[in-house]
């Protein structure tokens, strides 16, 4: 699977990736780090941790799960919007998401469905970055 990304120039965004499932977070961050992003990827296991990392670091892209303990991805994004009005946020959705409707009103946010398809993610980031 990595082969199709071999000739692609990696993205230079600094990514914050928020996902509560350990196995998914670890495998996806490793995969995205290997094939898509130049910079190391920061990860958080819930919205609260994601928000704290956001306050302490500079990012230019966020990819987040929606349903998470402590603070969900939508609440985290609303709080991030109070600090930063423009950073692109990509939500990853499953089915029957309780907070899915709020996403409609979060500006400069995008939706991708689970399981995350890296080719679609690449297209989305290119669209966001106008590449």
């Amino acid at each position: 699977m990595n082969g199709i990304f071999n000739c692609m120039k990696k993205f230079n965004q600094k990514l914050l990736y928020v996902e509560d499932h350990d196995a998914i977070r670890n495998s996806m961050s490793r995969l995205m780090g290997n094939v898509l992003f130049e910079n190391p990827i920061d990860t958080a296991e819930n919205g609260l941790e994601g928000l704290e990392l956001f306050k302490e670091n500079r990012y230019n892209l966020i990819i987040t799960d929606i349903a998470m303990p402590k603070m969900n991805g939508v609440e985290m994004s609303k709080k991030i919007r109070e600090i930063n009005k423009d950073i692109p946020i990509i939500f990853l959705t499953g089915f029957n998401e309780e907070y899915i409707n709020d996403i409609e009103f979060i500006n400069n946010s995008y939706l991708l469905t689970k399981p995350l398809n890296l080719e679609l993610l690449v297209e989305k980031i290119k669209g966001i970055s106008h590449i």
Binding site: F91, T93, F95, N96, I100, N101, D102, I103, E104, F105, S109, Y110, L111, L112, T113
Partner: protein, 62 residues
């Protein structure tokens, strides 16, 4: 089902004078592509999405 969805989106956009984003279309397509939902379950899930969406729009308009 697709006609129903198109009409529902059009109704919401007209009633609330808004333009729904790509995110709504993506989520609805996601439900439509569900491998194991029956048509009835898909419709129920999509109706639930629209009902909650209208509730959110109303809350924002207050």
């Amino acid at each position: 089902m697709k006609v129903f969805i198109k009409e529902k989106i059009s109704d919401i956009e007209k009633e609330y004078n808004i333009k729904l984003t790509e995110k709504t279309y993506q989520y609805i397509n996601h439900i439509l592509n569900h491998k194991y939902y029956t048509d009835e379950e898909k419709k129920k899930s999509i109706m639930s999405y629209f009902n909650k969406l209208e509730k959110k729009i109303n809350e924002r308009n207050i």
